[in-house]
């Protein structure tokens, strides 16, 4: 049986490869998955590039940055499958939560932004800028956080400081006072809450609803050499995704993901993320935030080229490099809707007719063209109501604050 070693970090959104393995969806497709756990994205990437693993659970911007050669010589990666949308949160230290007057529900991003701006300015004046932890320079966390901060008039580099804390250390960094807030995936926000060291202020779905999060990344060479096997892997992941959103499966899935070899966290904590029920502060009853994590419906696993384009736009914005049409094309081509379609033709998967869309343009449910199944997209709004046209990135960048 052909084997895929798949690198991952201990996060709830590593669910699909883990569950495809545990529930036998991989075996049903004639492949074996061997999950390989690490602590940092740098190690996950090194193992992928040097053949310790065949594929990886990866933050989407890192796959693009690696292909473009940001921070290291370029190495072409391909993303034929999205492992999930959203699912991260911004958690404030108790002191920052107090200073911003966080209530018992999730804040409105614009209102909270206005209050945070005052606190941030006071801290600039005091010579101690607020410090935010994100999981990686090339992470959706970094880009969503920066998008929000810049959108509410807080300069992500001038007015606050953004540092890197790997997910398993984010709650510790908050506890130790190394950072005033973290933007990280689950279960690490909830762990910070349960330890009483943080309060969840926002979820990233409030910043960009349906924003692309983790992806399945492979070396492009692997995709070329093992096309049929990769197709089988995508079918197994799709089956796992379909199963993951069954309400009856949630408890068992949480129990699996909680195991020490995966997330190593309490079952109940993992369950809150899966069930879209987040406890915002220690001891409070969880609130329901629909679609906090989004793993399957609305063709969530489809690698839209426009989502890669948005990430590239943010990359030029925050790396302060000029927009390049050639780079934009390379970045978008990391996402491989063609591979997704070929692998899932004839399955239960919904296959969109287009490979790119206007991001942030859907407010009410919208039916769109599909070559297989029916596709109705829900709201994909950015908190500031802007839309992103992948065909005109320079105009988009020019209009941003």
């Amino acid at each position: 049986m052909t084997r895929f070693r798949i690198g991952f970090l201990p996060l709830v959104d590593a669910a699909l490869p883990i569950l495809a393995h545990e529930h036998g969806f991989a075996a049903a497709e004639g492949i074996a998955i061997e999950p390989v756990r690490d602590t940092t994205w740098a190690t996950v990437l090194d193992r992928l590039l040097y053949g310790h693993t065949d594929a990886a659970h990866m933050i989407a911007p890192l796959a693009i940055a690696t292909t473009l050669g940001r921070g290291r010589p370029p190495a072409p990666l391909s993303v034929p499958f999205v492992l999930g949308l959203n699912g991260n949160a911004v958690t404030f230290s108790a002191a920052l939560a107090r200073a911003c007057g966080l209530g018992n529900r999730l804040a409105d991003p614009a209102e909270l932004g206005a209050r945070l701006r005052e606190v941030a300015q006071a801290r600039v004046a005091a010579g101690r800028r607020l410090r935010f932890g994100v999981v990686h320079r090339y992470s959706s966390h970094n880009y969503m956080l920066r998008y929000w901060l810049a959108g509410v008039g807080i300069g992500p580099d001038a007015d606050v400081e953004i540092v890197v804390t790997s997910p398993p250390f984010a709650a510790d960094a908050l506890a130790a006072g190394d950072v005033d807030a973290i933007c990280v995936g689950e279960p690490w926000n909830s762990i910070a809450v349960d330890r009483g060291v943080g309060r969840i202020a926002l979820v990233t779905a409030q910043i960009w609803r349906r924003g692309v999060e983790k992806v399945l990344a492979l070396r492009t060479a692997t995709l070329d050499e093992r096309g049929e096997e990769v197709a089988a892997l995508l079918r197994a992941l799709h089956a796992a995704a379909m199963h993951f959103v069954e309400p009856d499966a949630a408890e068992e899935n949480a129990a699996i993901l909680a195991r020490p070899e995966y997330c190593g966290a309490p079952v109940e904590t993992i369950m809150r993320a899966i069930a879209d029920r987040l406890r915002l502060r220690q001891g409070a009853s969880p609130i329901h935030f629909p679609d906090f994590m989004f793993q399957y419906r609305e063709a969530a696993n489809f690698p839209w080229r426009s989502q890669a384009a948005w990430l590239y736009a943010q990359m030029t914005r925050w790396d302060r490099t000029p927009f390049s049409a050639a780079e934009a094309e390379i970045a978008q081509s990391v996402f491989r809707p063609d591979v997704y379609r070929a692998a899932l033709a004839g399955s239960a998967a919904t296959l969109p007719g287009a490979s790119s869309k206007l991001e942030g343009s859907v407010t009410n449910a919208l039916g769109v063209g599909a070559t297989q199944g029916r596709l109705i997209l829900g709201s994909d709004r950015f908190f500031d109501g802007r839309a992103f046209d992948p065909d005109d990135i320079p105009a988009y960048l020019g209009a941003l604050p």
């Binding site: 940092t40 740098a42 090194d46 290291r72 010589p73 320079r137 890197v164 790997s166």
Partner: protein
């Protein structure tokens, strides 16, 4: 050439520092991974940074190096297109490296090769140590199980051992496993008649 070593295993770090010094590379700065990593690096101003692959601080380090591109002495990933094989060997051995841009390959290669050899030697030592430890634990368990059998069944030592051995063979288990089971059940049930 100043080399900084960041390793979660302080004994491996020491072995690498020794190796580099023996090879005449005396300007070596070990970094304490438990305290402020970046401040130490800033002070050390290294041209080469060796770090264990699984070091939990790597994302932080890479961010720092990316920022350092704006400084006078940018640090690049050691991963160099021209020497894929050496990089792969390093990753296989569990070592990663970051190097100031512009250092020539001829100067770096001996450092990396040496680190790789030391990492491999360290891994072998660890494995031998683990084997020795488990052999010792096995022997202790067997000795204890023999004593229990001798006492409870009135056997002499060769007979107790023979009983252990024959049971292990018939149940297709290691003698140490059978011994462990006897020790455990004796601890739980030993007082029962």
């Amino acid at each position: 050439m100043r080399i900084a070593i960041i390793d979660t295993s302080s004994s491996r770090a020491a072995i690498i520092v020794d190796g580099l010094r023996e090879a005449g590379l005396t300007d070596v700065v070990p970094i304490d991974p438990a305290s402020a990593l970046l401040a130490q690096l800033e002070r050390a101003h290294p041209e080469v940074v060796l770090v264990n692959l699984e070091n939990p601080g790597r994302d932080l380090l890479e961010d720092y190096f990316a920022m350092s591109r704006a400084l006078a002495r940018p640090i690049a990933m050691f991963v160099d297109q021209s020497d894929e094989a050496a990089t792969a060997a390093a990753v296989d051995a569990g070592v990663s490296a970051y190097i100031v841009d512009g250092l020539t390959k001829q100067r770096i290669k001996p450092v990396i090769d040496l680190a790789v050899r030391r990492f491999q030697a360290f891994a072998r030592l660890q494995e031998e140590l683990r084997e020795a430890r488990s052999a010792l634990a096995d022997r202790t368990a067997v000795d204890k199980a023999k004593a229990i059998l001798m006492k409870r069944r009135g056997l002499d030592e060769p007979a107790a051992y023979a009983l252990l051995r024959s049971h292990a063979m018939s149940s297709n288990r290691r003698i140490a496993e059978v011994a462990e089971a006897i020790v455990t059940s004796n601890a739980l049930l030993g007082d029962l008649p």
